[in-house]
C-alpha cells in the first residue's frame, strides 16, 4: 500500500512539475496571448472561461466618456482573482492607444457561492448614460466617471436582480467584486452541454445534477441506473453488478471512459467506488449497442468523467454518517490549459460503529473501513491535441472474530478477514483535426484480494489487467463517418485458495459445509482482443450505423464475428423511430476456464439482440421513449449435472435463454425547478441449464418494474425529491426437505430440479424522500440533506431464510427504514 501511495504522489509531483516547467518554458518565448487567442484556445471545461480582459467593456466606455488619464496601471489591480495577463492585456488592447483615460471604477461579477465568473452581463449605472459589459472573466471597468454616488444595477435572467450603490471619489479608484445570487440553487454547478447526437437505440443518459439529488441513492453514480427501465431492482446489492434485461451481472460491462472498473463497489455492493462529482454523465445502454463495445452480451454502463475545471480552484468537503469526501480542482497554469482534480473519500462507519455496536458473538479487529481516491490531470497541448491522465484507487478492509457458530456453516466461525484493493489508471491522448479524430487510451489496474473465512477457508488473489483502446473516426463526407477501433486486454492473475467452487446462476443455497473445497495455487493469464469498424450513414432524417466487431480470445483459441446495426429515422421533428440489433459474445468467467475450478474447451457465450422503438419529444422538456426487445442467448456456460465416466469437465456451453419485454420512459428534463421521470419495464427472462432441463425463470426475472422519480425546487434553496418503486418479486427455488449430513452435522436441502425458481417473493415497493437545503454565501455554499429510504416502513422481501434443518422458512426483508443525513461545503 505504501508503495502505491508513493507512486501516486510521485506521479502527482511529476505532473505538477511538468506543468510548471512548461509554464516557465512558455513565458520567455512569447508575450502573453491576447484575449482573443486565449479565448480560442481555452478548454471547454465546466465553468471554463476565456482568459481575457474586457476589451469590449473598455470600448464601450470609450464611447461614453474619455476623461484624462493619470496613467494608472492595471497591474495595480489587487483582486486576487484577476489574472495578471488579463489586466496586462486590457491595458494593451483597450487602453494603450488611450493612455490618457483613467479607470476609476472597476470590478468583477461572479456567481455567489461558486465564484464562477459571469460573462456578457451589462453593468448599468442607473439614471446615467454609463454602462459596461463583463468579459469572459467577469471583469468590467468604467473610465473617467465623475465623482458622485451611483446606483449600480445588473439585470439578468438567471440571477436575482443585483442593485447596490457605489461612491466614486476624486483621484481614487473604486474596485469591487459583485456576487450575483442564482435563481436556481444546485449543489453542483450545472454543466451546460449541447444536445448529444444519439447513436444507441437503448441509451439513457443521467446527468449528474440529477443523480446527486435522487433519493435513496446517496448520489451513487452506478446505483442511479437502477432507476431506469431495463435494470433489475436491487441488482447492485445482490450481485455487485448491474442486471440488464435478464442478463447476468457479468454480461454487462461497466466502463469508466472506456475502461473496465476493476472493483465496482465498496464491500461488494454497498457504494460505488468512483466519486460521482468527477463524472459528467452516466450512460446506460440496455441492448443493441454498437460495435465499439466488445466482450459484453447484456448491456453497457458507461461512466463519463469530466475535465477538471481550469477557471479557478475550488472543491468541496462532504460528510455524512457513512463517509467523508473531499475534492479539490483547478488550473495548474495561468493559461488554463492544464487542470488537476484530486478527490478522496473515507468511510466513517469504522469511527461510529465502536460507539454503537456491541456483541458477545462478534469482536472487530478492524472495523469496516473503505477509502477511494481519484486524480485527474488534463492538458490541452494545442488546439489539436489533448492529454488526460486518470489515477484511481480503492481499499476496503474488515477483520473480525465470530464466536457464534452457524448450524448450517459450522466451519465459518472464527476469523473473518476481508481486504480488497485496486489501484490503476489510464492515459487518454486525443487528437482532433477537422474530420479526423483519434483517441488512444492505454490503462492498467492492479487488483488485490485477501479473504480469510472461518477456520480453514481462504482466497488470495492478485490480478494485473492491462487494456489498450484506440478509437478512430473519419468524417468522410457529409453522409458518412467511419469508425475504426481496436481494444486489447491482456490479463494476468495469481490465486491461492481453499474455497468452494463459486455458485452459478440458478444454483440453490451454495454451501461451504456440503461442497468440496478446492485447495490450489495457480497463476496464468489470457488475452482478449477486439477490432471493429462501423459507418455512420446519414441521409436527411435517416441514420444508419452498420458495423462489425471481431473478437479473439487466446485461452479459448476462439474468435467471434459480431455484425451489428442501428437505424434511426426522424419521421417528423419531434418523433424518431429507431431499431437496432446484432450478435454479441463474451468470454466465460476466468474460473470457468481455469482448472481445477473449471475446464478448457469452452466457447464464448453468445447473445442476439433485436430492439425497436420510438422517441417522442412531446414538449421541449417532456419526452417519451418506448422500446420493445427480444434477446436470445445460447452457449451459456452451465454446470454438467451428469458427467459421463472419464469426462472430468465441470462446465459446458449447453445453457440457453431468452428475454423479451417492453420499456417506457416518460421524462421531464432538468429545468429551473423540476425534473423527474416515470419508468416502467415489463419483461420475461427464461433460462435452461442444458439439454433435458426445462426453461425456468432467470434468477432476476422481475416481470414488472415501475419507478417514479421527481425532484422539485419548491422554494429558493430548498429542494424536495421523491422516488417510488414497485417491483414484482424475484423467483426462488422452494426447498422441499432436507437430509442430515452426519459427517459434519449439517443439513442438505432437497428441492425439485425440474422446478427451479418456481416460487416467487412478494411485491417490493418503497418510497424514498430527500430534502436538500442550500445556503449560498459569497465565496462558498453550504448544503445539507436528509434522505429517508422506505418512508412508509414496508417490509420488502429479498429472500427466503431457513432454519438449520430447512423445516421452517421465513421471508427475509430489507432494512425497514433508513434515514441519513449529510452536510457539504462547496468553495
Amino acid at each position: 500500500m505504501r508503495r502505491w501511495i508513493s507512486i501516486i504522489f510521485t506521479f502527482l509531483v511529476l505532473v505538477v512539475g511538468v506543468a510548471q516547467a512548461q509554464e516557465q518554458d512558455r513565458t520567455p518565448q512569447a508575450p502573453p496571448p491576447s484575449s482573443g487567442e486565449a479565448a480560442a484556445e481555452a478548454p471547454k471545461a465546466p465553468g471554463d472561461s476565456k482568459a481575457s480582459t474586457d476589451p469590449e467593456a473598455s470600448g464601450k466606455i470609450e464611447e461614453k466618456k474619455r476623461p484624462e488619464s493619470d496613467g494608472a496601471s492595471a497591474m495595480e489591480f489587487e483582486d486576487a482573482d484577476a489574472p495578471a495577463e488579463a489586466m496586462d492585456g486590457s491595458e494593451e488592447d483597450g487602453l494603450a492607444d488611450d493612455a490618457h483615460m483613467e479607470v476609476n471604477f472597476k470590478g468583477r461579477v461572479v456567481e455567489k457561492g461558486t465564484r464562477k465568473p459571469l460573462a456578457d452581463l451589462t453593468v448599468y449605472l442607473k439614471d446615467t448614460e454609463y454602462d459596461a459589459s463583463t468579459g469572459e472573466e467577469g471583469f468590467f471597468e468604467f473610465e473617467g466617471l465623475p465623482p458622485g454616488t451611483y446606483e449600480v444595477v445588473i439585470p439578468t435572467t438567471d440571477y436575482e436582480m443585483f442593485k447596490t450603490k457605489e461612491e466614486i471619489r476624486p483621484g481614487e479608484r473604486t474596485e469591487v467584486t459583485y456576487y450575483l445570487d442564482p435563481k436556481i440553487y444546485s449543489s453542483l454547478e450545472v454543466i451546460v452541454r449541447g444536445k448529444k447526437v444519439k447513436k444507441e437505440v437503448s441509451r439513457k443518459v443521467i446527468r449528474m445534477e440529477e443523480a446527486r439529488v435522487i433519493p435513496g441513492t446517496q448520489g451513487d453514480a452506478v446505483k442511479v441506473v437502477e432507476n431506469l427501465p431495463g435494470v433489475a431492482q436491487g441488482s447492485s446489492m445482490a450481485t455487485g453488478g448491474v442486471i440488464v434485461r435478464g442478463s447476468n451481472a457479468e454480461d454487462t460491462r461497466i466502463l469508466l471512459d472506456g475502461h473496465d472498473i476493476p472493483l465496482l463497489f465498496h464491500f461488494g455492493g454497498y457504494k460505488s467506488v468512483y466519486n460521482a462529482d468527477l463524472l459528467e454523465e452516466v450512460n446506460l445502454i440496455t441492448g443493441g449497442f454498437g460495435t465499439q463495445y466488445n466482450n459484453a452480451t447484456g448491456g453497457i454502463v458507461e461512466l463519463k468523467s469530466r475535465t477538471p475545471r481550469t477557471d479557478r480552484w475550488g472543491g468541496y468537503v462532504d460528510t455524512s454518517f457513512i463517509d467523508v469526501t473531499a475534492l479539490a480542482e483547478g488550473p495548474l497554469t495561468k493559461d488554463k490549459d492544464m487542470g488537476l482534480a484530486l478527490g478522496i473519500r473515507r468511510s466513517t462507519i469504522d469511527l461510529i460503529l465502536p460507539l454503537v455496536f456491541s456483541s458477545q458473538d462478534v469482536s472487530f479487529t478492524t472495523y469496516p473501513v473503505y477509502y477511494d481516491y481519484q486524480a485527474k490531470y488534463f492538458y490541452k497541448i494545442d488546439k489539436y491535441h489533448s492529454l488526460h491522465v486518470d489515477v484511481y484507487g480503492i481499499y476496503d478492509a474488515i477483520k473480525l472474530t465470530m464466536s457464534a457458530v452457524s448450524d448450517q456453516e459450522p466451519e465459518l466461525n472464527g476469523q473473518f478477514g476481508f481486504v480488497t484493493q485496486s489501484h490503476g489508471g489510464f492515459i487518454t491522448y486525443k487528437y482532433k483535426n477537422g474530420p479526423f479524430e483519434s483517441r488512444l487510451s492505454p490503462g492498467y489496474s492492479y487488483i488485490g484480494l485477501k479473504i480469510d473465512v472461518g477456520q480453514k477457508y481462504y482466497l488470495h488473489n492478485d490480478a494485473h489487467v492491462v487494456d489498450i483502446n484506440e478509437d478512430l473516426t473519419f468524417e468522410l463526407n457529409k453522409h458518412n463517418t467511419l469508425g475504426v477501433g481496436v481494444h486489447l486486454n491482456p490479463r494476468f492473475a495469481t490465486i491461492s485458495t481453499n474455497i468452494i467452487r463459486p455458485p452459478k446462476e440458478g444454483d440453490v443455497n451454495p454451501s461451504f459445509s456440503n461442497s468440496d473445497s478446492i485447495v490450489t495455487s495457480l497463476s496464468g493469464g489470457d488475452f482478449i482482443s477486439g477490432f471493429y469498424v462501423n459507418d455512420e450513414i446519414r441521409f436527411g432524417s435517416l441514420t444508419l450505423i452498420p458495423g462489425v466487431l471481431a473478437e479473439y480470445h487466446d485461452r479459448l483459441n476462439t474468435y467471434s464475428i459480431n455484425p451489428r446495426g442501428t437505424v434511426r429515422w426522424q419521421v417528423i421533428e419531434p418523433l424518431t423511430l429507431k431499431a437496432a440489433g446484432g450478435l454479441y459474445h463474451r468470454v466465460p468467467d476466468p474460473d470457468e476456464m481455469w482448472k481445477p475450478f473449471g475446464n478448457g474447451g469452452l466457447e464464448m457465450e453468445r447473445s442476439a439482440h433485436a430492439v425497436g422503438g420510438l422517441e417522442w419529444d412531446i414538449t421541449k422538456v417532456i419526452s417519451l421513449d418506448v422500446q420493445g426487445y427480444y434477446k436470445y442467448q445460447d452457449n451459456l456456460v452451465t454446470s454438467i449435472k451428469n458427467p459421463v465416466p472419464g469426462d472430468d469437465r465441470i462446465y459446458d456451453n449447453s445453457g440457453k435463454g431468452y428475454t423479451y419485454g417492453a420499456e417506457i420512459l416518460l421524462r421531464h428534463n432538468w429545468t429551473d425547478k423540476f425534473f423527474g421521470w416515470i419508468a416502467y419495464s415489463v419483461a420475461k427472462a427464461m433460462r435452461n441449464d442444458g439439454p433435458g432441463t426445462p426453461y425456468r425463470p432467470f434468477d432476476f426475472d422481475q416481470r414488472h418494474n415501475l419507478i417514479a422519480v421527481a425532484s422539485w425546487q419548491f422554494y429558493k434553496g430548498w429542494r424536495l425529491g421523491g422516488r417510488f418503486q414497485f417491483t414484482t418479486g424475484e423467483p426462488y427455488t422452494e426447498i422441499t426437505g432436507s437430509v442430515f449430513n452426519a459427517d459434519n452435522g449439517t443439513y442438505v436441502p432437497l428441492y425439485d430440479s425440474q422446478k427451479k425458481n418456481s416460487g416467487r417473493n412478494g411485491y417490493y415497493h418503497q418510497l424514498d424522500i430527500r430534502l436538500d437545503k442550500i445556503w449560498v454565501f459569497d465565496k462558498w455554499k453550504l448544503s445539507v440533506y436528509w434522505d429517508i429510504q422506505n418512508v412508509y416502513y414496508h417490509a420488502n422481501p429479498f429472500g427466503e431464510v431457513y432454519n438449520y434443518d430447512y423445516t421452517e422458512t421465513r421471508t427475509l426483508t430489507n432494512i425497514p427504514i433508513l434515514p441519513s443525513f449529510g452536510i457539504r461545503a462547496d468553495f
Partner: protein
Amino acid sequence: MSIARKTNDGTNRNLHFVSRLWLMAIVAFAMTAFACGPDFDDPSMSRVRKPELLSIVLDPPEAAPGDTVTASFLLADQFGPVEDKLNFWLPTAPGSSDFASDASDSGSVVDIENVLADSGLDMMDLISPRLEYIVPREEDYAFDSFGMSPQMFSLLVQVGELDLSRPEALMEDMESLIRNGDVKMAYRTLIVSNREFRNTNPRVTELRMKFGGEEQDVSWVPFDDPSPSASRRKAAGTPVIVKEYSSVLFTVEVEDENETDLENAIRYQWISNAGDFGSRREKKQEWIAPFYVPPIGADQDQSKSENPDFRKDPNLHAAWLILRDNGVENQLGQSWVEFYIRVVRAD
C-alpha cells in the same frame, strides 16, 4: 440460518478470477453471525425440540478393505434419547460418494432397491441399530493419491407413525415420508483407505462441570456402550444437579489416537433437550439451565429413582457432546457422550 437469496453467476472479469458471487456469498455467510434472524420455532441445533438424528458413528471412521466397521446412530427428541424406532441402513456401492449432490439436485432421494442389491447384506442386518459392515475387497475401490476412497452410508429412521403392514408401499413412498418428516434420512461417509496410519474416532476422556464455584466430574454414556439402555438409566440416576436458570460451565478432555493437532482438529457440538448451550461450540461450554417444572404426579418425579425414566421427568434433562475431528482435511472421525442434568428449585 441460510440465506437463499437468488444470486448471479460468474466471476467479475475485472477481479480476474474472483467471483462477485463468492464475495457476496462469503459476506452473506459471515453476516449470519450478526443476524438476529427471523423468529423460528426451532432455531438451533443446540436444543432438541423434535425427533432428530444427532450423530452417526462409524467405528473406525477410516478402515482398510476387509476390516469390520460398526455403524451406530443417535436419535433424540425433546424428552431425551430415542431407542425404539425402526431404522434402515443403506450402504452404497464402494466408491460412491456423490450422495449429497445427487440427492439434493435430483429430487429423487435414493434408489433403495439398487442399494440393497449392491450391499451384499440381508434385510436383518440393515434394520439393526448397529450395523456390522465388512469392507469389501480392495479391487472394488479406486483410491486417490492419498490412498483413500470414500463410501457412503445412508440411514433411514422412523420418527413418525408409519403403516408397517405394507413395507413395499413405504419404500415406494419414501420420498414423501422424508419430505413430511415421518422418516429422517441421513448419510455418513466411510473413508476406505490403504494408508498405514488410519484415522480413529476422538473420544472423551474427562467431562467436568463447574457450578456455583464447585467443580465435579460428570457421568456419561459413551457412543459404543454395549448396553446403552441400562447405561442411560444409570447415568440418569446420577445426574449433575443444578439450580434453575443458573449458569453451568462444562469442560471436556479428549483423546484421538493418531491425531497430534487436537486443538485444530476437534470440533465440539453441545446439545440438550432443555436449557441453552447458545450458539457456541467450545471446549469449555456454558449452559443455562431451564426453569424448574413442578412435577404433576409421582410419575413425573423420578428424583428418588436409581434408574429413572428420564423421558417422564420434566426436570431431568439429557445432554450430548458430539466430537468430530474434521477440522483436519480428510478426517471424519466422530463420537459422542450422553449425560444428564437435573434442575432443582433455586430456593
